[in-house]
């Protein structure tokens, strides 16, 4: 057992190193067991993201305490370390501003909690579901399924859109109906379709009104509130149903209209205002068809 008292450096012996390693190993096991017990014990009563934050905080504090407690055994003088730490800290601080920023931002994010794990968000233009909020970075699974890592400093300073923070959200459509149709009838039909949808909320009331008189159509604005979980499915389904029901009721959703005159008129030397248009008729058609119409007229 003489080797235990063998001095490795300064006053640190093999025994000190073994004690330090034992403390480290034991502490690691105890911390892991404690975390496992904590997770099992609080799984039912604490939400997943709260539990993750709690676990991380406890883990970091425990590891810090363990490392500090073994330092005297490996010959590190804590008071000297504090003094040296002040000087080194300044140097390291300058060198690792980004790391420190990310770390502090991570701490603030954990307390402010603008986003939670599992929520659909957009951070600095990157949309996705929050997978994890770590101490240095936040990870998302974007809507195409890609893994995205965003440094916490960026998350902290970026504009965040949280799509599911509130229980309900509103979406809107603008649907144009023909000038020849009754707008009140169109509003009645659209309102009926909205009422048939279970996820279109009764309160706040859905709103359907004539928004503007467009070039080609009377534009009807539709605003509907829905639970955030069902918003996108409802938005897709409702528009299709409105279109089908308007078709069924004979309410036309017009294509853009354009009036085309024949070339003989356009080339006439007289000013347009003086042209006698009797005998000519404007040809109405969709904008996409106008080129074809013109070619046919010119041929």
């Amino acid at each position: 057992m003489r080797f235990l008292s063998f001095t490795l450096y300064h006053n640190t012996t093999v025994q000190d190193i073994l004690i330090a390693l034992t403390i480290l190993g034991g502490a690691l096991i105890v911390v892991r067991l404690a975390i496992y017990g904590l997770k099992r014990g609080l799984r039912e009563s604490v939400s997943k993201d709260h539990l993750e934050i709690l676990v991380k905080i406890i883990t970091y504090i425990s590891y810090t305490l363990v490392i500090v407690s073994v330092m005297p055994y490996v010959g590190v003088n804590l008071s000297g370390l504090l003094l040296a730490g002040g000087v080194i800290g300044v140097a390291v601080g300058f060198a690792s501003q980004n790391i420190l920023n990310n770390f502090l931002s991570g701490i603030f994010l954990m307390f402010e909690r603008p986003i939670k794990m599992g929520q659909s968000v957009s951070i600095d233009g990157v949309g996705g579901v929050v997978e994890d909020i770590r101490i240095m970075s936040t990870t998302l699974r974007n809507f195409e399924g890609l893994f995205v890592r965003i440094p916490n400093q960026k998350v902290f300073t970026a504009v965040i859109n949280n799509f599911v923070a509130n229980p309900v959200r509103r979406f809107e459509y603008v649907i144009g109906v023909s000038y020849a149709c009754s707008t009140s009838e169109a509003i009645r039909v659209i309102t009926e379709v909205i009422e048939e949808e279970p996820y279109a909320l009764v309160k706040p009331d859905p709103v359907v009104f004539v928004d503007s008189l467009g070039e080609n159509s009377v534009n009807i604005m539709i605003r509907v509130w829905a639970p955030v979980e069902h918003l996108f499915a409802l938005k897709r389904r409702l528009l299709e149903k409105i279109k089908n029901r308007l078709d069924l009721e004979g309410i036309e959703i017009p294509l853009p209209q354009r009036v085309v005159w024949s070339r003989t008129m356009a080339l006439a030397p007289e000013p347009i205002s003086s042209i006698d248009t009797s005998g000519f008729s404007p040809i109405a058609g969709s904008a996409t068809d106008s080129a074809t119409d013109r070619d046919e007229l010119l041929s």
């Binding site: 229980p167 309900v168 959200r169 309160k203």
Partner: protein, 235 residues
């Protein structure tokens, strides 16, 4: 209409056709509405089946466990008044398979399409199942496949008249009773401040001899409030 079921079952309830038959080691269940068919195969034998009205929140239980009943016309409650009014509530029917203490949901349906509404503001409000009812002073005659009757005792503990337009109720405390004539619940609304009230259900059938439905929404623990709901976003 409600109660234990004898097999084979072939019954029309409102717009639904429901069938339940027994095989050698299984049961076959189907529910038809027009061309839409829901079918289930139940593996196992034994036990018994019940069709009962349940808390009207099951069709969207994940979204909300609360029911908002909006009054067709507002009711003004004078200070100190304790008055009973009758409202209607939507019926949801559940077919359950029971074996010993185990109660398994087979199917839940409602004769009318159901809607949701927000109680409170969009930031922190609460999603509720929505129903609209007139407040009446005598129990209304209703189609028991569609509506039940809620006897609501309103007590105004404030010193000012209260304009009441809605009630919000937590499913965890609902106690439904049924017999051959209808489905009932009883509740109280205690108005404690202007715009704040507490609702709570009572173990009180509308008539003697009514059967109590199995409660399918369980209370969430010691802090659940035992079905009490505090309406803090207005009446």
């Amino acid at each position: 209409m409600f109660g234990p079921i004898r097999l084979p079952l072939n019954r029309t309830i409102h717009s639904y056709q429901i069938e339940l038959s027994a095989g050698p080691s299984h049961y076959l269940y189907s529910r038809r509405k027009g061309e839409a068919v829901e079918q289930k195969k139940l593996l196992g034998r034994g036990g018994s089946f019940f069709l009962e009205p349940v808390e009207p929140v099951h069709l969207n239980l994940k979204i909300s466990k609360t029911l908002m009943i909006e009054l067709a016309d507002p009711v003004i409650v004078m200070p100190g008044v304790s008055q009973q009014v009758f409202l209607t509530f939507p019926i949801e029917m559940m077919l359950t398979w029971r074996e010993g203490k185990r109660v398994v949901e087979v199917d839940t349906f409602s004769a009318l399409p159901r809607k949701l509404a927000l109680y409170g503001d969009p930031n922190q409000g609460l999603l509720c199942h929505y129903w609209k009812s007139a407040a009446q002073f005598v129990p209304p005659e209703v189609d028991m496949a569609i509506e039940g009757v809620l006897s609501l005792t309103v007590q105004n503990f404030t010193e000012r008249p209260i304009d009441m337009r809605k009630g919000v109720f937590l499913a965890e405390g609902m106690k439904l009773y049924y017999d051959k004539r209808g489905v009932s619940m009883a509740a109280m609304m205690l108005i404690k401040e202007s715009g704040v009230a507490e609702t709570v259900f009572l173990e009180k059938p509308a008539r003697p001899g009514m059967t109590r439905s199995h409660e399918m929404v369980s209370a969430g623990g010691l802090l659940s409030g035992h079905g009490r709901f505090v309406m803090e976003y207005g009446l």
